[in-house]
């Protein structure tokens, strides 16, 4: 079972993006950080008790699924869209959605384009092996337009091609576009077009067939979301884990009688470790990595808690 393998290895292999600022990117010393990376840390903290026991495996749009299928990574946390065929045909289990997204386009302001419908005949940079590749074909077809794809492996390459003018538009998940644009020298020269041409619910995934592992990872992620919902933050978590009035929080943090951890083969305070390891609850992570105060500047939008009018709605810890 994957859990045993991870424990025996003492290290979690986590598939991440090759470099998408805010979501997953290494610094000059090879230390990874970002919104997707936080999931890896949460899982590692929950399972191994140490958020640093992660081996990050950079994957491209193309290599990610084989890396997961072949067992090279235990979990893939890399802006991956949950689709029917990936679930059913590629045999992966999506453990939830950590970011509700949609596909968009980015163009140079000087082109004067204001709508994706004006892109007839354009050259479009696109990461290969992605849903966006398929959406793009559909979008242009339904709108009776033509385009010429420039297929690239990684976001870095896409960026390079786009900046050099080798393509008129760059398309990928809107969040990815924002992250990419944030890293430009003059972000203001580029606009992200208003059209969102698809649904891209992004989430971590694991292999079919190991339900225990799926549960662990799913609930590690849910713990982060739930923590935000219940107001558990990295600042007050130590305090709250001593026990509170709220039985839900107690169950989450393992402060009460119930030992949810045991049910998934982990310690009682697994969720507390996960939250601390990830660097706080979902909201804190969001704010620190991709939120409005960061260069990427994404608003919570759909990714707000259900209580705030968003779609984040974690099942109860019970």
């Amino acid at each position: 079972a994957t859990l045993d393998d991870v424990k025996a290895r003492g290290e979690l292999n986590c598939g991440v993006n090759t470099g998408l600022v805010g979501f997953a990117a290494p610094d000059a010393n090879g230390n990874w950080s970002g919104f997707d990376v936080a999931i890896c840390k949460a899982v590692a903290a929950a399972v191994l008790g140490d958020a640093s026991k992660v081996k990050y495996v950079p994957t491209t749009g193309q290599t990610r699924f084989t890396a997961l299928a072949s067992g090279e990574v235990d979990i893939l946390s890399r802006n991956t869209t949950w689709t029917f065929s990936r679930d059913a045909d590629l045999k992966f289990t999506f453990i939830g959605v950590n970011y509700y997204d949609g596909q968009g386009f980015m163009v140079n302001k000087s082109l004067g384009v204001t709508s994706a419908k004006e892109l007839d005949g354009a050259t479009v940079c696109i990461q290969t092996g992605t849903t966006t590749e398929l959406n793009l074909a559909d979008f242009f077809k339904t709108n009776n337009m033509t385009y010429s794809p420039v297929t690239i492996e990684t976001n870095a390459e896409g960026e390079q091609q786009f900046l050099a003018g080798a393509c008129d538009a760059y398309t990928t998940d809107a969040s990815g576009l924002a992250a990419t644009r944030a890293a430009f020298a003059n972000p203001d020269d580029y606009v992200i077009l208003p059209e969102i041409i698809s649904k891209e619910p992004l989430g971590p995934l694991v292999r079919h067939g190991d339900d225990q592992w799926a549960d662990i990872t799913r609930w590690a992620m849910n713990a982060l979301i739930a923590a935000e919902e219940y107001g558990v933050t990295s600042a007050n978590i130590e305090e709250l884990s001593k026990g509170t009035e709220n039985p839900e929080i107690n169950r989450l943090l393992g402060a009460g009688e119930d030992n949810l951890g045991a049910m998934i083969g982990l310690e009682k305070d697994w969720a507390k470790k996960a939250i601390i390891g990830a660097g706080g609850n979902y909201g804190e992570i969001f704010a620190a990595t991709i939120g409005e105060s960061t260069p990427i500047g994404l608003a919570r939008g759909l990714n707000a808690q259900w209580t705030q009018g968003g779609l984040l709605y974690t099942p109860p810890f019970r």
Partner: protein
């Protein structure tokens, strides 16, 4: 002697003529120019074209090199400095990126305080090669060389010292098995013992034994995980490991290909031609995508190790062809002499044929290594940080260095060039030396 010698005037030279200096046209700069640059219309044109090409390249590239900036913290700072000192619109190299990140190109993300370990491993490699390359050194040193893989492993990856020790112990087990089986005198038992016992040891006992010993007597060296490997440390590790490991396999394949046994020959030929017929990339993909399908469920090991396995198989096919050439270059008489002295197949291979064939093959092996070393850049396509694209992309991902292209290419290219040019010169020297020695 009856015929006429009407014209035959007997002639004897009384004084010998001294060496005369040649006419001016035959010496000095004029002759050199005439012969080397302007010996005809075509040649004159070529010379002019050549000079034009040189001037063009220099004119295009030299300012860029000369305007190079070595101290800056980001590309934009570089550009600013260049604009300030050479005027608006001037181009210049931003060598600062190399100055800042050279260590990543060389060592990947290897911990800085441990850089001495890969460096030492490389230095020891040359020490270990010495007894093989220079026949003058005492033969006993070969044993020290045999220990090198274990030492290199510990230096590069660290971890428990007992792991390489118990792996090396496998060879000891094989040797012991061989010795004991020889005593029994049963046929075939000896080779079987020599092969099977170590295999059993490695598969079943080596791991637990290493674990137990570690618990009893901890011998721990700070561990460096594979994902920290990158840059030239990665390239050299893969290249050297693959070439070293492929040698024994290559020898077996070469012998197999020369065997009279149809099946053995067919299998060897099939393997060699298959490996040589597909691009290395597909083999690397096999390493990263398919190896886990082919191995028992649940096995999963390090991607670097898997890549080394595939690259080893790849190199083995090429080495086999090199060694086959070496074997073919041995005169038949050597085989016959060995036979007539009563040496059996394996002994005559071990004592007579292989020592000579391998020696002849060294230049070919060096060339194979050069090719392999260049090919290690392909590991980027299975997600390892090769020096060329992997590290360069990683460096460029940093906001401050976004947009640098040529400098990393030039730096990495120069290092490859120095290594490979050096090695190819060395192999040429060896070739000439072998020819001189005429074995």
């Amino acid at each position: 002697m009856s015929d006429t010698h009407a014209q035959t005037v007997a002639y004897v030279r009384e004084t010998m003529l001294p060496q005369a200096t040649p006419p001016v046209s035959e010496v000095g700069a004029i002759k050199w120019l005439r012969e080397n640059l302007f010996s005809g219309v075509l040649n004159t044109i070529l010379t002019l074209v050549g000079i034009a090409a040189v001037i063009w390249v220099v004119q295009a590239a030299l300012p860029w090199f000369l305007h190079g900036v070595w101290r800056a913290n980001s590309l934009s700072e570089c550009r600013q400095i260049i604009a300030e000192s050479w005027g608006e619109g001037a181009h210049g190299a931003c060598w600062a990126v190399i100055r800042e990140r050279w260590n990543q190109f060389l060592f990947g993300f290897y911990p800085r305080d441990l850089y001495w370990r890969p460096v030492l491993a490389l230095a020891l490699l040359f020490v270990a090669l010495a007894p093989i390359l220079f026949a003058e050194l005492p033969r006993k040193l070969i044993w020290a060389s045999a220990l090198y893989p274990a030492v290199a492993y510990i230096l590069l990856w660290g971890g428990s010292l007992w792991v390489p020790i118990s792996v090396m112990a496998g060879f000891g087990v094989g040797w012991l098995g061989l010795a004991i089986a020889r005593r029994t005198g049963l046929p075939l038992l000896a080779p079987l013992a020599a092969v099977l016992l170590p295999l059993l040891w490695w598969l079943l006992l080596a791991g637990p034994a290493a674990g137990m010993l570690e618990r009893a007597v901890p011998l721990w060296v700070q561990e460096v995980r594979s994902d920290k490997f990158g840059g030239f440390v990665l390239s050299i590790t893969i290249g050297v490991a693959a070439i070293v490991l492929s040698l024994p396999l290559g020898v077996v394949l070469a012998l197999g290909r020369r065997s009279d046994m149809l099946l053995v020959k067919a299998l060897s030929v099939g393997f060699i031609e298959f490996i040589r017929g597909v691009p290395l990339i597909t083999l690397l993909f096999t390493a990263s995508l398919l190896l886990n399908y082919f191995l028992p469920p649940g096995t999963n090991f390090d991607i670097i190790l898997r890549v080394i396995i595939m690259v080893t198989l790849f190199a083995a096919a090429y080495i086999a062809e090199v060694i086959r050439g070496g074997l073919a270059a041995l005169p038949r008489g050597q085989y016959e002499a060995a036979d007539s002295l009563g040496l059996d197949y394996w002994k005559s291979m071990q004592l007579i044929v292989l020592p000579q064939a391998l020696k002849i093959s060294i230049p070919g092996i060096v060339s194979t290594f050069i090719g392999l070393f260049k090919d290690t850049t392909l590991v980027i396509f299975v997600g390892l940080l090769d020096p060329l694209k992997g590290i360069t992309d990683a460096v460029r991902a940093a906001i401050e260095w976004k947009g640098v292209y040529w400098e990393p290419f030039i730096f990495v290219g120069a290092i490859f060039f120095i290594f490979n040019f050096g090695m190819s010169r060395y192999s040429m020297y060896l070739e000439r030396k072998l020819k001189r020695d005429h074995r």
